[in-house]
């Protein structure tokens, strides 16, 4: 019964809860048991709510019994990326500098999830301040990919993706600044959506790069992503970049999914050199399947995408160096006083030296350099011009096609340590995902199969014009249905059984 509960989609679990076939307490208990059994091996969570989650679930069960009107995800447990502040739950953003900090308020997406009756299970691991593509930059140790525990789960949101892939949570919240929702989805065989910039409030999201960050759903199915998207999207007066207009239902777009007549543009610059053979093979098989079902596939060119990574690694550090100035040892988090005392500035410098990891220091220094007098125009100014050129590429492409398609990332999951010593090669992981953040357009990654050469998951990415997020759910749901018919079930049904690790975890007394 317990194993059956954790393998349900959020939508299916929501239906069982609504029908009274199962209680939220039972569903939440099943997921907490699963976390206790496998998270010693996976390490997706930095904090688990435990009995407090059971209390929240019991309250939802009481409300349901009293006949209160509840939404489709009421009573469904959810994992929350540690980048979002949560009242009463530790929030570290994967950094030592915030160890033990308990925020006095909830981020808006967390408030919305609670109002929808969902049950926060805990906080998920991530690269420190979301800087990374592997979770190896977490101050609390890496998360392991449930498909192969020696490999990275992607990043920065590797914890959220792994928690969902390992059936520790039906769904999760993530954040995507250059691919931190979509690339982990790609390497873990899950679904991740970066909504249009401004669709979901950033209030209470510990900022990395404010003009790029966006919160979004991390799930196992396209419908679950749509249901969660419908919960968290919407205008928020507390975020001045929040889009004021109302959104159509993404869940409706999934239920009406139909690709006949849909024009899909294949970005030729993201379909060649540097992309693993099995990644490209599964990508093209997916396109053929869509074509057979009525979609029209056309090649498009985005000549400036090749400058995206360069522009991103100027804009992101510049914004991050400014955003991370708030970690000053005064209002929250760590304080380290140099031996023999010191002025407040010396305390700040000692605190930031002790509290930040190597990648965070690297990017703060890089950003400080890019913004400094004499270099500003050559670096930051030029990067902002590239942003214009990337947007023009998107505008030109979307004049001819409804959505764009590419593999989500160049390779399947790599092994721990493989790219740690070479920051530039680590940054190349984000080549297909970064352009969407620079232009603010929405993107989805969903599983397209396993690469034949290594048996590891591969994702396909679709991009749509700003505010046209519903198109992603349409094409994503259609493809998911076609692929699952071919596979005879979801891709994650082929993931290795983690029960062997349950024993190890229990023996070691993990969690």
């Amino acid at each position: 019964m317990s194993d059956e509960l954790i393998r349900l989609s959020a939508a299916a679990l929501g239906e069982k809860l609504a029908a009274g076939e199962v209680s939220s307490v039972e569903a939440t208990r099943a997921h907490l048991d699963r976390i206790a059994a496998v998270d010693g091996a996976v390490h997706a969570f930095l904090h688990v709510e435990g009995e407090r989650a059971i209390e929240t679930a019991a309250e939802i069960d009481r409300r349901r019994a009293a006949g209160a009107p509840l939404g489709p995800l009421a009573g469904v447990p959810i994992a929350i990326k540690d980048v979002l502040v949560t009242k009463g739950m530790p929030s570290t953003s994967g950094s030592r500098i915030l160890e033990g900090w308990i925020p006095p308020y909830d981020a808006t997406p967390v408030t919305k999830v609670r109002e929808a009756g969902m049950i926060p299970l805990g906080k998920t691991n991530m690269d420190e301040f979301a800087m990374g593509s592997s979770t190896e930059h977490s101050a609390y140790g890496p998360t392991h990919n449930p498909w192969d525990l020696d490999r990275i789960p992607g990043g920065s949101g590797g914890g959220s993706a792994a928690s969902v892939a390992a059936f520790e949570a039906p769904l999760a919240l993530g954040s995507d600044t250059g691919g931190s929702i979509r690339q982990p989805a790609h390497v873990t065989g899950t679904v991740g959506v970066k909504p249009t910039y401004g669709a979901v409030s950033r209030y209470g999201s510990i900022a990395l790069a404010s003009s790029l960050d966006q919160i979004g759903p991390v799930t196992r199915t396209v419908l679950d992503a749509a249901l969660l998207h419908d919960v968290i999207a919407g205008h928020d007066p507390l975020d001045s970049t929040s889009i004021p207009e109302a959104w159509p239902s993404m869940a409706d777009a999934v239920r009406r999914a139909d690709v006949s007549g849909l024009r899909i543009g294949v970005i030729k610059e993201l379909d060649g050199e540097g992309f693993q053979a099995g990644v490209r093979q599964r990508f093209h098989e997916s396109l053929e399947l869509l074509e057979k079902n009525g979609a029209e596939i056309v090649e498009v060119s985005a000549p400036h995408f090749e400058y995206s990574i360069a522009a991103y690694y100027l804009i992101l550090p510049a914004e991050a160096s400014s955003n991370l100035a708030k970690f000053d040892s005064v209002r929250f988090g760590l304080r380290v006083t140099p031996e023999g005392g010191g002025t407040v500035e010396q305390v700040m410098s000692a605190t930031r030296e002790a509290g930040f990891g190597p990648e965070v220091k690297r990017r703060i220094i890089l950003g400080t350099y890019a913004l400094s007098a004499g270099y500003y125009d050559a670096y930051y100014g030029s990067a902002q011009k590239v942003r214009t050129l990337v947007q023009r590429d998107f505008d030109a492409a979307f004049a001819n096609v409804d959505v764009l398609a590419s593999p989500t990332a160049p390779t399947t999951a790599f092994k721990f340590g493989e790219k740690l010593a070479d920051p530039v090669s680590m940054y190349l992981n984000d080549i297909a995902t970064i352009p969407a953040n620079l232009a603010g357009v929405p993107g989805i990654s969903l599983p397209s199969g396993l690469a034949p050469e290594d048996g590891l998951p591969v994702g396909i990415q679709f991009l749509a014009p700003a505010r046209e997020d519903a198109r992603l759910y349409n094409v994503g749901a259609a493809l998911e249905q076609l692929l699952e018919a071919r596979w005879g079930g979801p891709l994650l049904a082929q993931a290795p059984d983690l029960s062997a690790h349950e024993l190890t975890a229990t023996e070691e007394g993990a969690l």
């Binding site: 790029l212 000692a350 942003r387 232009a439």
Partner: protein
């Protein structure tokens, strides 16, 4: 563009208020050089006729009335996570050093 020196990195670390060790400054000097070399590519296409974009979605500034909101923290809540506080204030060490 110019090479990055260890002195520059030390200066940047001071501006960014991070007390880097000499070893870290050494690593970062090499790495920053490599990263800057990779990102200088932007200058190839950033010609004077291209306008810069600072924000992905065109937006206007948002205003609200200057009144106390409904979601403000109490002083106790605001101070709850502070390393050190005194009554209703954040507490820090001396602002000025002896030589200042």
């Amino acid at each position: 563009m110019s090479e990055i020196t260890a002195e520059q990195v030390a200066h940047l670390a001071n501006l960014a208020r991070i007390a880097l060790t000499d070893e870290e400054i050494g690593h970062l000097t090499t790495e920053l050089g490599q990263i800057m070399h990779a990102v200088e590519k932007v200058s190839e296409v950033a010609t004077p006729d291209v306008p810069p974009t600072s924000h992905p979605i065109p937006m206007q500034n948002v205003f609200r009335d200057d009144v106390v909101g409904t979601t403000v923290l109490t002083a106790d809540e605001a101070l709850a996570g502070a390393p050190e506080s005194d009554d209703s204030r954040f507490k820090v060490s001396a602002i000025l050093g002896e030589e200042q």
